[in-house]
């Protein structure tokens, strides 16, 4: 679970809201909230603000958390690609 997903879940539970109630509040399907909380999906900036409003939370904190998750994901992706490229380069050098 991503930090943003955890933040949404905790805020929702603290407010005593169900997944369905939160989904209704922001006009999305319950599946969308599930994907944020469980699959770590990061919504658009506008939706992050809407979520913060619905959960009566600090929008800046929500945005910061979403940004950190996005950064972490991007860093991991670049690192994985770099490692894959390195393996290919070394293999090519060995073969040559």
């Amino acid at each position: 679970m991503s930090s943003f997903g955890i933040l949404i879940k905790q805020s929702r539970e603290n407010r005593g809201l169900t997944v369905r109630a939160l989904a209704d509040a922001i006009g999305k399907s319950p599946g969308y909230i599930s994907r944020i909380e469980v699959r770590g999906e990061i919504p658009s900036v506008e939706l992050v603000v809407e979520l913060a409003t619905a959960l009566e939370g600090d929008a800046e904190r929500f945005l910061e958390c979403a940004k950190n998750d996005s950064m972490e994901r991007a860093t991991n992706e670049v690192e994985t690609k770099y490692q894959d490229a390195l393996v290919l380069f070394r293999k090519g050098k060995r073969d040559a």
Binding site: M1, T18, V19, R20, A23, S29, P30, G31, I33, S34, R35, E37, V38, R39
Partner: protein, 273 residues
Amino acid sequence: MRERPFRLKPEILTNGEIQNRAERLTLNFAEQVGLDVARLGINFQVVYEEIIYPDYGIEIQEGLDLGFDDAGKKIFGRFLPVENIVQIDRVISHNHNHPQRAFTYWHEVGGHGVLQGEWLRKQVKLHGGLSSIATTEDSLSFGVVNALERQANVFAARAGAPNWLLYHVVAETMDLTRPVRYIGPFKYSLQIRGRTETVTVKSFEHLCWIIGKRIQFRFGWLSAEALGYRIAETSMVKDFAKSRFELHRVGNDRRSIPVFLSPVGDILAGMVS
């Protein structure tokens, strides 16, 4: 007097009740997304996101190494009733081509979590003892003796391939206007998505498996074995080979004569080689 150790028992439910609950779960999903969309196909992931997580709050932890049970069998999944968490071993979660992947998720989350979760929590509250239910490959077979596992399998089979979708998909895929008739181990000409395919069929179960294999993609790649089992349960494929050799009494004569129930045309069609 020595106290007997407490053994957790499942709620007493008939197969019909379990199947109804599974069917209802998927119908809720169909209502949520619309029947036209749901009829395109069903898979665990979307039902989990749209219905199971919002309504039952079951969390899934994937990519873990759950190790082996006391008998040395690999643990595929585990349900923790008090925490309402399902854990899936990386053998299943990280291998999208694992034949038992979809069924394991339905078994753990649907069977143990949705069907038995509430009951198990109550039982643990009353008697204590149980911390988790572990599932190995053996638990996923339909011949399993353990009642908790058997119930979870019945639920998983029905939720993974509910009747309302299975009948529609089989009829659509096979261009059916009447049930497929199995009349013995021959070569069969099957109409599959408008094309004629000639297949060698070894048994009734094999015919169901062949059909299951061709509709897997509409059921989130549920295994052909599980789909074959479900197809065999329906009346879409009929085993006439079995009934051909059923013995019938005629009048007062106690001698028995075999009666061929399949029309001659079917037998000839089945013998096309």
